[in-house]
C-alpha cells in the first residue's frame, strides 16, 4: 500500500468518525458476534459485578447504547504484569476489548505505532476526547528529584500523569503499584514512588490493586462504568466493593479447616496434600480484601491458596512492607532480628519482668523491715 493510499484511509477514518459513532452492540453485530454470545458476555459481566442475574438484560441494553469509548493505558514504574493480565482476560477477551468494546488508543505494549507517532496518538486522543476518555495507569509514579526516575519520550511520568489523568473522565489505577505505590514504594522507596491518587490528587481514581490485578475485575469495572454511567462504590481504600468488599479468609475454600483447627505444618505433609488451612505457613488471607477465592485467575482455573501457597496480601496498601515476611503470621518488629517476632520479644519481656521481681522479692525478704515505731515518724 502506498503512502497516498494510507493517508486516504486515515482520512476516511476521520470522516466516518465525524458522521457516526457505533454502539458496542452494533459493533459486535457488525463484527459477526452473535446476539447469543453478546448476552453470554453480559451475563458473565453481571456475575463479575456481583449483581443478580436479572440484571444481565439491563447490562446488555446499556452496552447496546454505549458508544465504543476511548481508553488510554499508561505504563509507568511497572513490570507490565497488569498488561499481561489483560491479555489473559476471558470475559471479554483482550481481542474483544480492543476490537469491539473499547477503542484502546494508547497502550505501549500492544500498539503498532512507536516513537513520536505514538506520542501524537496520545496527544490527539486526550485533546479530542477531553473529559470523556477512560485512563488506565499501570505502575507507580516517581516523585523524587522531580520524577527523573521515570521518563517516556523525554517527559517525566509525573508530568504525563498530571496531564492525562487530570483530564480523564475517570482513572483506573490498575495493580498495587498504580494504586498505592507498590513494590517501588517499599522501604526505603529509593525513587519516591507513589500511587496515582497521591501524584494527581484531583483525579477521579478507582483503585484495582492486586499483583497483578485480576483482569476480570478490570473488565467488570469498565463495564460497570459504561452500564451505570458512574464509578462503582468504593471502600475506604478506593477499591470497588464488588471486588474488594470481602476478606479472602471469609470466602476461602479452606476456611472450614481453619475453624476446625486443621493446619499445614510443613510443605508437602499430609495436611498440605489434603488441602488444610495454610494459616501457619504465613497465609495473609485473614488480612486481605480481595475476591480471589471466588473470581480466581486464568478463567477461574486457580488462585494462590488452591496451589498450596498462602495468600501474600497483594491487594492491600503497602503490603510489601506490612504483609512480610511471607511465611510468618506477623510482621517483624523494627529494630529486632528477623527471627524476633513480637511474641518472642514479648515472652522475653515477661520473663525479664518475672525474673526482676523474683530478685526483688528475695532482696525484700532478706531486708529488715521497718520497726513499727519508725512508721509513726514518717
Amino acid at each position: 500500500m502506498s503512502k497516498q493510499q494510507n493517508s486516504d484511509a486515515s482520512e476516511k477514518t476521520e470522516q466516518s468518525l465525524e458522521t457516526r459513532e457505533y454502539s458496542v452492540g452494533e459493533i459486535l453485530k457488525q463484527r459477526g458476534v452473535s446476539r447469543r454470545d453478546f448476552l453470554k458476555f453480559c451475563t458473565a459481566m453481571t456475575a463479575a459485578m456481583s449483581l443478580p442475574a436479572s440484571f444481565a438484560t439491563s447490562v446488555a441494553q446499556a452496552l447496546d447504547e454505549v458508544k465504543r469509548p476511548t481508553l488510554v493505558w499508561l505504563n509507568f514504574q511497572d513490570c507490565t504484569g497488569d498488561s499481561e493480565a489483560l491479555l489473559r482476560a476471558a470475559n471479554p477477551t483482550v481481542g474483544e476489548i480492543i476490537l469491539d468494546i473499547l477503542s484502546v488508543d494508547y497502550h505501549e505494549t500492544i500498539m503498532a505505532a512507536a516513537g513520536h507517532q505514538a506520542d501524537e496518538a496520545l496527544e490527539s486522543t486526550i485533546t479530542k476526547y477531553k473529559g470523556k476518555y477512560l485512563c488506565v495507569v499501570e505502575g507507580s509514579i516517581s516523585m523524587k528529584d522531580d520524577g527523573v526516575y521515570g521518563c517516556t519520550s523525554g517527559k517525566t511520568h509525573l508530568e504525563i500523569a498530571r496531564k492525562v489523568c487530570g483530564s480523564a473522565a475517570a482513572t483506573i489505577a490498575i495493580g498495587t503499584c498504580a494504586a498505592y505505590g507498590g513494590i517501588a514504594a517499599a522501604v526505603p522507596n529509593p525513587t519516591g514512588a507513589v500511587g496515582v491518587k497521591d501524584a494527581v490528587p484531583g483525579a477521579t481514581v478507582i483503585n484495582l490493586p492486586g499483583c497483578p490485578c485480576n483482569a476480570d475485575n478490570l473488565t467488570a469495572t469498565i463495564v460497570h462504568y459504561l452500564v451505570f454511567g458512574k464509578i462503582p462504590a468504593l471502600d475506604g481504600k478506593g477499591r470497588p466493593l464488588f471486588a474488594y468488599g470481602k476478606r479472602i479468609h471469609d470466602n476461602c475454600e479452606r476456611r472450614p479447616h481453619f475453624d476446625a483447627g486443621q493446619y499445614v505444618e510443613h510443605w508437602g505433609d499430609n495436611a498440605h496434600r489434603k488441602g488444610f488451612c495454610l494459616y501457619k505457613m504465613g497465609c495473609k488471607g485473614p488480612a486481605t480484601f480481595h475476591n480471589c477465592p471466588t473470581q480466581r485467575y486464568n478463567e477461574k482455573t486457580s488462585w494462590p491458596v488452591a496451589s498450596g501457597h498462602g495468600c501474600a496480601g497483594c491487594s492491600e496498601p503497602q503490603f510489601w512492607d506490612t504483609m512480610g515476611p511471607m511465611y510468618k503470621r506477623l510482621p517483624n518488629v523494627p529494630g529486632f532480628g528477623i527471627e524476633q517476632t513480637a511474641d518472642k520479644i514479648g515472652l522475653g519481656m515477661a520473663v525479664g519482668v518475672g525474673a526482676a521481681f523474683a530478685v526483688h522479692g528475695v532482696i525484700s525478704a532478706l531486708r529488715k523491715d521497718k520497726k513499727p515505731e519508725e512508721t509513726r515518724e514518717g
Binding site: N6, G81, A118, V187, G268, S307, G337
Partner: protein, 564 residues
C-alpha cells in the same frame, strides 16, 4: 547526519529509548537508554531470603516466572539445598511453557507488525490466502471461510472509524514486503494467537495458581502438593489438563508459528545480513534433570566462531557504570555482582528533554561484560551455543530451518536469525516439555509425592553468612541472580538479566552494547518512520523493567566476604 529518537519503543516490556545517527540512509551509531528505575534490589536488603523470589518476580510481569526461578536457585545454592526431582520437573514444565508462550506472543503481538502490514490484508483474496496457508501446514483453520471472516472483522473494525492501538503506525511503509495474502494470514494468526496464549498458560495456573506472577515457588521446592487421591493436589485430572494444554501449545508452534515464521522470513531474506551486531554469544544452559545435567548446554561463543565453545564461569562477569546513571567503584573498572558498590544518581538532562548527552551517562541500565567483552544473550545465543556444542535436537531443527530458507549458518548472525532462533527455541521446548510431564507422571505412579525439601526451611538451620548464585536461561536469555545472606537476612542482592546484557550502554572502553552494535549499519528508508530500528530492536525482545536495577552493597562488608 541526522539524529533520530525513538521513544517510546513500543511493543516491548518497559521503557526504552533509542537515539541513532543516520548517514546516507544507514545508521552510523546508536545509543540505547532505559529511562525508568525502581531500585528493587536496594529494597530487598534486610528481608527474608525465602521471600526474595516473590519480590524479584516483580522485576518483570512478562517473563513472569524467570526471576522467581533464578532467585530460589540462588538461595538454594547459598544454603546448599537440593530440591526433590518432582519439584525440578514441575519447574521445568513451568519454564518450558513460559518460553513457548512468551515466544509466540513476541512473534505475533510484539514483533509481527514490523513485518506484517495489517491494512494490506484487507485487499487479500481469502481463497488464495487459504491456499497459501494450506501449502504451509495442515492447521484446521486454513479455510477460505475462516480467512474471509477475519478479513470482514478487520474491515468492520476499520470502518468503525477508530483504529485504536493500530492507529498512527507505519502502515504502507516501503519496507513492508509481504503480499496481501500473507498479511491476511498473519493477521488471522495474530488474533488466533491471542486466544491461544491465554489457554496454554493455564498450565501456570494449574501448577502455580495464576499467570502472570505464579505463586507456588518455594526455596527448596514447590508448594503445589502432589497426591493422586486428593482434590487439593496435583492429581490425574490436573495432570491430564496439563497434557492437553501442552499438546495444544506444541500443535500451534508446529502448525502455525513455525510455518508463519518461515513464510514471513522468506520475503525478508535481506535481513539475514542486517543487525548482526556483537557476534559474541552467551548462554547459561537450562532444564536440569534430577542429577542437575542441563538439557540445553551452557557456553559462550566469540566473534561468530561456531567451532569453539567457551565454558562460562560466573566469576568472569563484571558490571560497569561508566555510562549509567549510577556512581561508585563500577566506574572505570568492572565489579563482580557479589562485590558491586553503586548508588543511583541521575545526571541526565532535566525533563522534558529532546536528546540525551550520549557522551556522558545516558541510561539506568548498567554494562555487564564477560571478560571485558560485550555479549549478546537470548534465544539466538542459546541456539547457537547448543548448535555449536552438537546438541542433537537443536542441530536437527536448525539444519531443517536453514535448509527451508536456503541459507547457511552465518545467516543466523542477524536480525532475521534472532527472530528465527526464537521460533526454533519455541519448537524445541514445545516438543520437549511433554517429556518432563511424562517423567513427573512416572514418578508419581511410583509413589514419589515429594515436592519440597524441608531440611533448611527453618532459618535457625542456616549458617550466619552464606552466599550463592542462581542461573536461569530465560526466554530472553542468560539470567543470573547473586545473593548474600547474613544473620538470616538478605545482605545484598544482585541480578544481571538478559536485557541488561543486550540493552547495556557503552562500557569503560567505549564498547557498544548488543542493541547498539546491532543497529549500526541498519538501513533506514524514512528517518521519520524508522521501522527498521523497530525490527532489529524487537528481534531482541527487549524487557526493560528487568534490566534496570541497582546493586547496592555496603563497601565495608564486601571486603570481609571473600569471593569464592
Amino acid at each position: 547526519m541526522a539524529r533520530i529518537v525513538v521513544d517510546p519503543i513500543t511493543r516491548i516490556e518497559g521503557h526504552l529509548r533509542i537515539e541513532a545517527e543516520i548517514e546516507g540512509g544507514f545508521i552510523k551509531d546508536a545509543w540505547s537508554s532505559a529511562t525508568m528505575f525502581r531500585g528493587i534490589e536496594k529494597i530487598l536488603r534486610g528481608r527474608d531470603p525465602r521471600d526474595a523470589w516473590f519480590w524479584t518476580q516483580r522485576f518483570c510481569g512478562v517473563c513472569t516466572t524467570v526471576h522467581s526461578i533464578a532467585s530460589v536457585r540462588a538461595v538454594e545454592d547459598a544454603l546448599k539445598i537440593k530440591i526433590p526431582p518432582n519439584a525440578q520437573l514441575i519447574r521445568n514444565i513451568i519454564m518450558g511453557i513460559q518460553n513457548v508462550q512468551d515466544h509466540v506472543i513476541h512473534f505475533y503481538h510484539l514483533h509481527a507488525l514490523d513485518w506484517v502490514d495489517i491494512t494490506s490484508g484487507l485487499k487479500a483474496d481469502p481463497t488464495k490466502t487459504a491456499a497459501l496457508a494450506a501449502s504451509l501446514s495442515d492447521w484446521p483453520n486454513n479455510s477460505a471461510t475462516y480467512f474471509k471472516a477475519v478479513q470482514d472483522k478487520v474491515k468492520a473494525f476499520v470502518a468503525s472509524g477508530r483504529l485504536g492501538p493500530f492507529a498512527n503506525a507505519y502502515w504502507g511503509h516501503p519496507a513492508y514486503k509481504l503480499p496481501p495474502e500473507a498479511n491476511l494470514m498473519a493477521t488471522a494468526h495474530y488474533l488466533e494467537a491471542l486466544e491461544w496464549q491465554k489457554d496454554v498458560i493455564k498450565i501456570h495456573a494449574i501448577l502455580g495458581s495464576k499467570n502472570p506472577h505464579p505463586q507456588s515457588f518455594l526455596v527448596g521446592g514447590m508448594s503445589i502438593p502432589i497426591d493422586p487421591d486428593s482434590q487439593n493436589a496435583l492429581n490425574a485430572d490436573k495432570l491430564m489438563e496439563i497434557k492437553r494444554l501442552l499438546k495444544k501449545a506444541q500443535d500451534f508452534v508446529e502448525k502455525v508459528y513455525i510455518p508463519d515464521l518461515l513464510a514471513v522470513a522468506s520475503f525478508y531474506k535481506e535481513w539475514a545480513a542486517i543487525g548482526g551486531g556483537l557476534g559474541n554469544y552467551m548462554s547459561y544452559g537450562e532444564f536440569p534433570d534430577a542429577n542437575g545435567n542441563l538439557w540445553f548446554p551452557s557456553g559462550a561463543l566469540l566473534d561468530k566462531d561456531l567451532s569453539k565453545v567457551i565454558t562460562v564461569d560466573q566469576g568472569k562477569i563484571a558490571e560497569y557504570v561508566d555510562h549509567s546513571w549510577f556512581e561508585g567503584a563500577g566506574t572505570g573498572k568492572g565489579l563482580h555482582p557479589f562485590d558491586g558498590e553503586t548508588e543511583v544518581r541521575y545526571t541526565g538532562p532535566k525533563p522534558p528533554y529532546a536528546n540525551l548527552d550520549t557522551n556522558a551517562k545516558y541510561s539506568f541500565v548498567k554494562s555487564p561484560r564477560y571478560e571485558e567483552k560485550a555479549m549478546e544473550v537470548g534465544p539466538l545465543a542459546r541456539i547457537l551455543v547448543a548448535y555449536a556444542s552438537g546438541h542433537k535436537e537443536t542441530k536437527a531443527v536448525v539444519d531443517l530451518v536453514l535448509g527451508k530458507l536456503g541459507v547457511g549458518a552465518p545467516a543466523l548472525f542477524s536480525t532475521l536469525g534472532r527472530t528465527a532462533a526464537r521460533g526454533i527455541d519455541a519448537l524445541l521446548i514445545a516438543q520437549q516439555t511433554p517429556k518432563w510431564l511424562d517423567e513427573l507422571i512416572g514418578n508419581i505412579s511410583k509413589g514419589d509425592y515429594r515436592i519440597h525439601n524441608n531440611e533448611r526451611w527453618d532459618p535457625s538451620t542456616w549458617p550466619t553468612e552464606a552466599k550463592g548464585y542462581g542461573f536461569h536461561e530465560a526466554p530472553r536469555g542468560a539470567l543470573g541472580h547473586w545473593i548474600k545472606i547474613k544473620d538470616q537476612k538478605i545482605q545484598n542482592y544482585q541480578a544481571v538479566v538478559p536485557s541488561t546484557w543486550n540493552a547495556s550502554p557503552r562500557d569503560a572502553k567505549g564498547q557498544r552494547g548488543a542493541y547498539e552494535a546491532a543497529l549500526v549499519g541498519t538501513p533506514v528508508a524514512d528517518a521519520n518512520k524508522p521501522l527498521e530500528i523497530l525490527r532489529t530492536i524487537h528481534s531482541f525482545d527487549p524487557c526493560l523493567a528487568c534490566a534496570v536495577h541497582v546493586m547496592d552493597v555496603d563497601g565495608n562488608e564486601v571486603v570481609r566476604v571473600k569471593v569464592s
